[in-house]
């Protein structure tokens, strides 16, 4: 109990950072992923742009996240702080998967819906915005929630470039206290709680929308 109370301030600091990274990376990933997904579905392909996006999302999915993080932090001449580098790398990597989810979601809408919108006089943008996306969201929400969960777990990897998030807080505490077993179990417990809260929120959203 003593150890827990001594560790709590650092854990809370780490948890705050994990949440910040998660939310910022999710915002970037979902924004990019939705745009990428729309522009690569078979009815909305744009010459040159769509193949380029397909290549980019393939690279994001093919290269391990850890390697992408190292490239963003050490190789790209952006001179980013660990916080920004983590968000950029996480957001980019995850957007590749979100794009796939969105693309599959759009392609799953029956052709008759596109045709009905076309014959009623909707423009392509209006069709996507008012007819296709609202129907797609219901279909892909569980996959979106899954991606958010996987994003949370990937935040642990950014500890490797020195960002003081939950895992790094645990590692620092192990060095300080010399008690790896209870501390790493506490780290796992904090992730479990975060994941539980995330699941609860996404379930509520799912129930409201579907």
């Amino acid at each position: 109990m003593d150890l827990f109370l001594r560790s709590l301030p650092l854990f809370l600091k780490g948890m705050q950072m994990t949440i910040q990274v998660l939310l910022s990376a999710a915002a970037l990933s979902f924004t990019l992923g939705i745009i990428f997904g729309i522009l690569t579905c078979h009815r909305l392909k744009v010459p040159i742009l769509s193949p380029v996006i397909e290549l980019i999302t393939f690279v994001y999915r093919a290269v391990p996240f850890y390697v992408q993080l190292l490239i963003v932090y050490f190789v790209l001449p952006l001179h980013l702080e660990p916080f920004s580098a983590s968000i950029l790398a996480l957001g980019m990597c995850s957007s590749g998967y979100v794009a796939q989810i969105v693309r599959a979601g759009i392609n799953s809408i029956p052709v008759a819906q596109w045709e009905a919108a076309l014959t009623l006089g909707y423009t392509k943008v209006q069709t996507v915005q008012s007819i296709i996306l609202p129907q797609m969201v219901r279909n892909i929400l569980p996959a979106f929630n899954n991606e958010l969960d996987s994003l949370l777990k990937s935040t642990a990897i950014v500890s490797s470039i020195g960002l003081l998030e939950l895992t790094r807080a645990g590692m620092n505490l192990v060095s300080r206290e010399g008690e790896p077993v209870p501390i790493y179990l506490m780290v796992a417990l904090f992730y479990l709680c975060l994941s539980g809260v995330l699941n609860l929120i996404t379930r509520i959203v799912e129930r409201k929308i579907c």
Partner: protein
Amino acid sequence: MLIKNLYLKKKVPILSCINIEVPREQITVLLGKSGSGKTSLLRCIAGLERYTGEIVFKGNVGFVSQSYALFPHMDALSNCTHPLRKVLGVAKKEAEEKAREMFAFLDIEKLASAYPHELSGGQQQRMAIARALVLDPHFLALDEPTSALDPENTERLILLLKQLANKGRGIILSSQDMAFAANVQDRAIFLEEGRIAKTLKR
């Protein structure tokens, strides 16, 4: 509307050498066995197929497909008011009035707040017809519009289509229901294997 030298080919020829006129103020009925090209011709008129030849007309075309294709995430009223507001920019109140008027005529006014999956086949069909009609198109193409309607609602539809034709709209529809076709048509076109076999005028 003038259809000149229309050909549609996918893996096999679907429509060949179609030359017809769809006049305003008249109801043209397409007849023929299934697979004779009725739906394909209507889809060409609605702009949903890549054909060769020409379809010349002034104004816009409304289309009611056999699958209805109502928007499942909107209730019945929104299915009709949304295109009015988005496409024609009609104000919300006016759009709702127009839609309710059409619902009343098609005897579906009580279903305004129902979602498509809560409606029967016949109700969905009337809803799809209402959605196409509220936009007040110059030409209306309907694919088997009575396939799910009972005799009473078929009568209503005949009345509505005749009223629309009298108002100057050009109507073309396909049907397997010979009694309905005989009752509603000003002109009947028989299709056989994608070609016009016979044209009858009233």
